[in-house]
Assembly symmetry: C2
Homo-oligomer: 399 residues x 2
């Protein structure tokens, strides 16, 4: 596989090793390290059953002294009780002792099967190796992007460089996720590294807002994970004073577009999927109502299977909108599918079903547009279809 | 197919015809008629996009003069605008003119594809034939139970006779539904007929309560229908004064157990399903919290596919409970699968995974028990698994 050229933010290093956590024997432990202390921001799953590393990371914020993220795949360290909590702490502290920082300066993240204890001996051995092999080369970050994968078919990376406030600022994002994707407040594993100088509280507010419009706008099957984590580390190695004013806004826009680009890659790689579905909900009273409608449509098995079958069975779309918990009258709702009007002001519109079906068959990209008459709020949401292959993949994951 | 013997409530007649609404050409129009005026109760979908017959029926309640229910399958008359509303009214009024009652004494119900106008000429012609052929024979009710089916593989009937307040009271229920099942407040099509004398307001309160514990406790894929309708007609033909006191309570219990029996048949016939999953959620603060947890577990594609694959991947179950919107700590949650403890007070329990998997493989009946430590409220919920067959069935429904 040829790898796209990516620009690495200054002052960051990475590595990935085979620690023996994934049954496949592949790379399964990645570290992302900053040479200097970072301001950090994070958003996490709101699941009441949340992974030990999520609890650990949450407790570290806010911080301006973060140094590393340790990520393992193959085991979620979720629903693992007190032993799981201790293992998250041991992982952070083992990394810290080698990096010469405090355990509280190390974030940890896990993904994989729920309810099994981490194989700590193998993990700590792998971690020691990983920390001696860190590199600022592109290939080390590519390796890290693959080590965090579980059922993903491809790594998910976004890399940007932009001149902001007179200096070239770099932002790199890595993500994983192809199922158990139904985030509310945060999602999956995604890690952003930047050399921009940003104050920790600015960093958190811009990340939270970006996540609301990116990782909180995707789903695969709507099952909220125990491990969803988005972290953003800013080490300031690009130089200069912390960004402020227009420069801060420009950087915030960069974070937002990078989050959106990376988030979208997840339903694009949704397990077994054959269509990527972009759902625009417009004309709403507020963004949360738009999101609720988009999510109901995105998570409907009947909508997903209709798209998979290239079936313009649009009643499934408007009926999903109808149970989203948003009050509206049918006469206030209109629907377009791939640009074709199907339902206008609460009544069906004659359309060429064969042409719409042929378009669905031919193209992976699918566009659903639902428009209400309530206001100016809108949202863009991404999901994928539901296929027999998804069922096959998920009927046989642990055994 | 041999048909079970059923006892028909006195004073009711039924018939079913081929009106030419289903593409298959099968029976698709049923009428249920009472010789005398009935007290009626109903519960309906809470979907904002709801079918014209739902709007019509809702407006008729409360009533003590109901005479008939006209049901068609093959077309939902939903998302059909003003024309759909007019067609529901025309159907009721056509039946009324033949029965010698008011249009407002006739309930209508539809199920099938959303967004298409009813073929009114064929429908009214079929209705005229159906009304001339009504019979109090068992076979007429069996025909009606089949005419209302869409993707159901079998009719769903419950018939009871019980001595209450010194007289033999009969209750007959018919239902249909195998997908687009995710009711909140009511569901699908289900019709109950009784010859018990019951005051209309007693009837409504007992039906509402029974539906809360039956039709509102099932799902197939969680997509709330536009057409969910449960109706209960009581014509008093068993004789005597309206039931009161203990007799009323006994009849209410009969309604409750009949609703539960009929509701359960729907996920048992869930499209493509290979497992019927009973979910008991116990130890909750209130019933709505128990229901929220049960519904989140029932509607998780990951839980459903794990059960389908006989995979005791219980992390999917507790993580679904975790995003139900009910506040709890992990240490307050325990889980049993088919009687085997998997997760106790927030920590995993060693178990024989092969034995649990073998049980799942061998039996259609599956039991999930989630216990919190918050109180005495509980709920029993029924769903089915998610299979590749479900995807095949739903990727190709209209085209």
């Amino acid at each position: 596989m040829t790898q796209p050229t990516i620009v690495i933010p200054r002052g960051f290093r990475a590595s990935a090793v085979k620690a023996g956590i994934k049954p496949s024997g592949g790379m399964d432990l990645a570290v992302l390290v900053s040479d200097r202390p970072c301001a950090a921001a994070g958003t996490f799953t709101t699941n009441r059953v949340c992974a030990a590393p999520v609890r650990w990371d949450r407790a570290l914020l806010p911080t301006a002294s973060a140094r590393a993220i340790v990520v393992n795949a193959g085991n979620a360290n979720a629903a693992t009780g007190a032993e799981g909590e201790a293992n998250a702490r041991r992982t952070a502290e083992a990394a810290a002792s080698r990096l010469g920082c405090r355990g509280n300066d190390v974030f940890v993240a896990s993904t994989g099967i729920i309810g099994h204890q981490l194989p700590m001996e193998r993990l700590l051995d792998g971690l020691a190796r990983a920390l001696t092999e860190t590199s600022e080369d592109e290939s080390a970050f590519h390796d890290a992007s693959r080590a965090i994968m579980t059922t993903d078919t491809r790594p998910k990376v976004v890399a940007r460089e932009q001149v902001i406030g007179g200096r070239a600022v770099r932002l790199l994002g890595l993500a994983k996720g192809a199922a158990m994707i139904g985030p509310k407040m945060a999602t999956m594993l995604a890690f952003f590294l930047t050399d921009a100088p940003v104050a920790a509280d600015d960093l958190q507010s811009m990340l939270s807002e970006a996540v609301e419009q990116s990782f909180n706008c995707i789903s695969v099957e709507g099952h909220m994970s125990t491990n969803d984590t988005v972290l953003l580390l800013a080490n300031g190695a690009a130089g200069g004073e912390p960004l402020a004013g227009t420069a801060l806004q420009e950087f915030s826009a960069l974070v937002q577009s990078s989050c959106a680009a990376l988030a979208r890659m997840i339903p694009e790689d949704g397990e077994g999927s054959t269509h990527t579905i972009t759902i625009d909900v417009e004309g709403c009273h507020d963004r949360e109502q738009a999101r609720a409608i988009a999510r109901a449509v995105a998570d409907s098995a009947l909508v997903k299977t209709a798209i998979h079958g290239a079936d313009p069975n649009w009643g499934r779309i408007v009926s999903a909108a109808g149970y989203a918990g948003v009050p509206f009258e049918e006469a206030e709702l209109s629907l377009w599918l791939n640009g074709v009007a199907l339902y206008q002001a609460g009544a069906p519109v004659p359309f060429d079903a064969q042409a719409v079906s042929a378009h669905l068959k031919a193209e992976r990209e699918t566009h659903i547009r639902l428009v209400l008459t309530h206001g100016d709020a809108s949202i863009r949401f991404w999901t994928c279809d539901l296929t027999a292959e998804y069922v096959h993949l998920n009927a046989d994951y642990t055994t």
